[in-house]
């Protein structure tokens, strides 16, 4: 049986240092929810509070309607997968998986059968009688997953489970994890600092920084309409440029550093006024036109360097105002622009995001940032 998780006003302190000041969050039954953030942002701390390995200094943590604040980890009905797998090195693979069943009053004669079932689910049944040290990292991680799932937990907690694997295996394993999670249909909280992994695997993501959830929403919304500048720069790559917003007949106009002005339709009406803004332009949202072609208005720039990466080419340019930016263009035949070339840039005005230059919060329409339950919208 799977549960919904509800955290209201959670607080974590180490001595006098407050790590998580006030955090509220709801995770739906059966949802794959990811805590994403740079190291030290409090995501693992929060996960360990849910698991019961960290004490809770304030607020209520609930699984369905049960308050779990002071419950022993073993009684919360969690299954946990650790960053270093934490496979018991002194037991065989099968004994590892059987370990938890002993404490769940599972009928003794069915233990082996049940363990084998989950070993098959994660495809390590052929190694059942091996000692863990003779398994590769990916296999150990599968065993860890089987061990966490076999006790039929209400919640699956995963703490950077893939960060010790090599890049190729990481991609393979995240698909495995996602598949198994769907099959079992268990509420899952997943911690990672890898934004690509988070996007690929999650129903919803909470981007955390300094103990605060900055944006909680679907991968698509977080990428396209980040709630603030931190989220914009942490998820994917964003060039932050200075800009000036002005109003003309109820419509918004955006002026870039060198005077290039274009209308923008995606700003929230109440935010439209004359003001300084930070413009976040992702590298693929620039459009390059060689200078001097049919010169329309644009931001003037000089290409400083280019990196050819196969399907894409990255350009590093200096804008006429002195700002630097990175641009990604699809590679075309004979189209690589030589360093030193002057170009004119325009931007995809539908996609760019504007942030208040002081608060760095988004002033765009379509930002969905809610920490309570909602439809994932997928």
């Amino acid at each position: 049986m799977s549960v919904a998780i509800n955290i209201s006003h959670g607080v974590k302190k180490y001595g006098d240092t407050t790590v998580i000041p006030d955090l509220s969050l709801s995770v739906k039954n059966g949802e794959f929810f990811t805590l994403l953030g740079p190291s030290g942002c409090g995501k693992t701390t929060l996960l360990r509070m849910i698991a019961g390995f960290n004490s809770i200094e304030g607020g209520t943590f609930k699984f369905n309607d049960t308050v779990i604040n002071d419950m022993d980890p073993g009684k919360r009905g969690i299954g946990m997968v650790f960053q270093n797998y934490a496979i018991f090195p002194n037991m065989t693979v099968r004994k590892n998986v059987e370990f938890g069943l002993k404490y769940k009053n599972f009928p003794k004669d069915k233990v082996r059968e049940e363990a084998d079932k989950f070993l098959r689910l994660v495809h390590v049944d052929q190694f059942a009688d091996r000692m863990p040290e003779r398994l590769s990292g990916g296999q150990q991680q599968r065993v860890a997953l089987a061990r966490a799932l076999v006790i039929r937990p209400d919640v699956l907690l995963m703490d950077e489970p893939l960060s010790n694997l090599d890049a190729k295996l990481r991609v393979e394993m995240r698909t495995v994890i996602r598949q198994i999670q769907r099959e079992v249909g268990i509420t899952t909280i997943y911690v990672t600092h890898d934004q690509e992994e988070a996007m690929a695997i999650s129903d919803r993501i909470a981007v955390m920084n300094k103990g605060v959830i900055n944006h909680c929403g679907t991968p698509i919304n977080i990428y396209l309409r980040p709630a603030n500048q931190f989220v914009a720069t942490f998820i994917g790559k964003s060039n932050i440029l200075r800009g000036q917003l002005s109003e003309s007949g109820g419509k918004a106009l955006l002026t870039f550093g060198n005077g290039y002005t274009a209308p923008i339709a995606t700003v929230r009406p109440e935010e439209i006024r004359r003001r300084e803004v930070n413009v976040s332009v992702r590298p693929e949202e620039f459009v390059i036109r060689p200078a001097g072609a049919e010169t329309r208005e644009g931001i003037e720039a000089v290409v400083q360097d280019s990196v050819f990466l196969g399907s894409n080419t990255h350009y590093f340019v200096e804008l006429s105002g002195g700002e630097k930016a990175e641009i990604i263009q699809e590679t075309d035949i004979d189209s690589i622009i030589a360093p030193g070339s002057k170009v004119s840039l325009s931007v995809n005005m539908k996609k760019i995001n504007l942030f208040d230059s002081e608060t760095e919060n988004s002033i765009m329409k379509g930002v969905i940032n809610r920490t309570d339950e909602q439809d994932p919208g997928r």
């Binding site: 004490s55 980890p73 299954g79 934490a86 002194n90 404490y103």
Partner: protein, 583 residues
């Protein structure tokens, strides 16, 4: 980790029990010792200290002990560092054998070496006789030189074992980097290798000093007029006008002040050498040049031979015919018969009971302490850790005296029991075992235990089923060494024993002092054989040799030494003595 209000869970209960245990068996006796030193008939007095500093006979002992400690430390480093350098950086013949022999040297009972040298170079010793035959007289093992010699031969292998670990941690690329900048040979040894191993050199130096400074067996047997402070404590305790606890306590306090000062000085010195090496490419031993190789082998094996052969000679002497202290020609088992009459089996039984009980208690407490310190670091647990480390700077004789003072009367009458001997040994060996247990615990990721908790295991069970098995490989070799040093322990036991609780080492000592040398040789032989067995059997797996082979080789060493003694030593010796008689 927790900010929660104090909750009495499994581990808090363990904390409290350990704290009470240490308060009772360590802090209370030390308090008693201080009270005894500073109070007489209920009034504060410094008269014992005044008495100590009034006579050279008294205050000289601290000087003697310190001088011996410093000399032994310096010489052990001088002999041990080159030995270990050859051993770690070059391919020598029979490396494993060298390592086992080093271990045997340093783990043998402290005073058996001294007794062996008496048999060789005492007034009627083998070598003394030989030298006298060629006209050299005046060479004697007794006094300062003898004590230093015996202790150095026992302690230099300790430096070798320590330094070997440090040398293996050196990253080869550091040496290559030095060489690429033109720093080679002796220069490189001095500037790079010594520098990198300085923390270990200092640690080894401290250990050697503490052992040498606190040694009772060697100076009491061959010190003669050169009295050291453990001997003084013992003499005052066994004084002719009854035990003078007051003075013995004062001497103990002064001794601990000296060791504490040395300990702090060492700490200050090693604080200047704090760094870590990431040893990705350990140095692979090289093949030495032909001449150099022979010289290195000769150096290592000759040193080990000088250190070990005398002890084998004791085994030979245990089969010789003796009438009390007079050596008679011929071999027989008469000494063994007499030894059995002198309760050899009871001593053996006592030794085994004490060692096994002490080791079991030490292991349990050390593992618990290591868990509390690493996983549950808080004020009380750190306090327990600090208290448990205190015996590191307390010489065995001091621990013996404090326990006698604390537990000789009501409410705890323990003197003369096996219990108090076990307590003494637990206290003595605790710091070493708890350190190695803490190191082992630090290597275990906390998540393994949390995994067990998350799967529903209770805390105590997660600890016993997961954590302890994971630690065991890390603490087993330490436990073996502790076990052997408990078997060969003497300095605290000699104060605490009575006839019914006599151990093998104390049996040896009492036989020597009452002049029945043959029986003493039997006791010493049994101790040595037990030591060898205890060392080699459990370590055989590490050394990658079969257990059976070990048993065979241990027996072989024993038998061959007897044979050697008969054929090689006996005949020239009897010819020589015969020749001397005819002259």
């Amino acid at each position: 980790m927790t900010n929660r209000r104090f909750r009495l869970d499994f581990w808090s209960a363990v904390s409290l029990i350990l704290l009470c245990t240490f308060l009772l068996f360590l802090v209370y006796p030390i308090g008693g010792l201080l009270k005894e030193a500073f109070f007489k008939d209920g009034a504060f007095t410094m008269d014992a200290f005044a008495q100590f500093f009034s006579k050279k006979h008294y205050y000289g002992t601290i000087g003697h002990s310190t001088l011996i400690g410093v000399s032994v430390t310096a010489l052990s480093l001088l002999l041990g560092i080159p030995f270990s350098y050859f051993y770690s950086f070059y391919e020598l013949t029979g490396k494993k054998l060298i390592f086992v022999l080093c271990l045997l040297c340093t783990m043998s009972a402290p005073f058996i070496g001294a007794y062996a040298w008496i048999l060789l170079m005492g007034n009627s010793g083998l070598l003394t006789g030989l030298l006298r035959a060629v006209g050299i007289t005046g060479v004697s093992i007794y006094g300062f030189g003898g004590v230093v010699l015996v202790q150095v031969l026992k302690l230099f292998p300790l430096v070798v074992i320590y330094m070997n670990g440090a040398f293996r941690d050196i990253d080869n690329s550091l040496l290559e980097a030095a060489e690429s900048m033109g720093c080679k040979g002796i220069e490189r040894f001095k500037r790079i290798i010594m520098g990198l191993t300085m923390p270990t050199i200092l640690a080894a130096a401290l250990l050697v000093f503490m052992r040498s400074f606190a040694d009772f067996g060697t100076p009491v047997l061959i010190g003669r007029g050169y009295t050291t402070f453990p001997v003084l404590i013992y003499n005052e305790y066994l004084g002719e006008n009854g035990a003078d606890f007051h003075f013995a306590a004062a001497v103990s306090v002064i001794a601990v002040l000296v060791t504490a000062a040395i300990f702090l000085a060492q700490k200050a010195a090693s604080n200047r050498f704090k760094f870590t090496i990431n040893s990705l490419h350990p140095v692979a031993p090289k093949k030495p040049g032909k001449v150099a190789g022979i010289l290195m082998n000769v150096y290592c094996y000759a040193l080990l031979a000088v250190a070990l052969l005398p002890q084998l000679y004791i085994i030979n002497m245990s089969f010789r015919n003796y009438t009390n202290s007079i050596l008679k020609p011929g071999y027989s088992l008469v000494n063994y018969q007499k030894a059995i009459e002198k309760n050899l089996f009871r001593a053996l039984g006592n030794t085994l009971v004490i060692s096994i009980a002490a080791l079991a208690i030490i292991l349990v407490i050390a593992v618990l302490i290591s868990y509390l310190v690493v996983r549950r670091s808080n004020f009380i647990n750190n306090l327990i850790d600090t208290i448990s480390m205190m015996p590191y700077i307390m010489p065995g004789a001091v621990i013996g005296i404090s326990l006698v003072i604390a537990f000789s009367g009501k409410p705890f009458s323990l003197t003369g029991t096996l219990t108090i001997m076990i307590i003494a040994l637990v206290i003595r060996r605790m710091p070493f075992t708890s350190r190695s247990a803490t190191a082992a615990m630090m290597k275990i990721p906390i998540s393994t235990e949390e995994a067990a908790l998350s799967l529903g295991a209770p805390r105590a069970e997660a600890f016993t089923r997961i954590t302890v098995p994971m630690m065991s490989s890390g603490i087993i070799s330490g436990a073996v060494l502790s076990f052997v040093s408990i078997i060969t322990e003497m300095s605290s036991g000699v104060i605490l024993y009575k006839n019914s609780t006599m151990t093998l080492t104390i049996g040896t000592y009492t036989c020597i002092t009452s002049g029945i040398y043959g029986v003493a040789a039997v006791f010493a032989t049994v101790t040595t054989v037990l030591t060898v067995l205890c060392l080699i059997l459990p370590l055989s797996e590490d050394l990658q040799i079969g257990r059976f082979q070990c048993l065979i080789s241990a027996l072989f060493i024993f038998l061959s030494s007897v044979q050697c003694g008969r054929r090689v030593l006996h005949y020239p010796y009897s010819i020589l003595t015969g020749a001397l008689c005819t002259v």
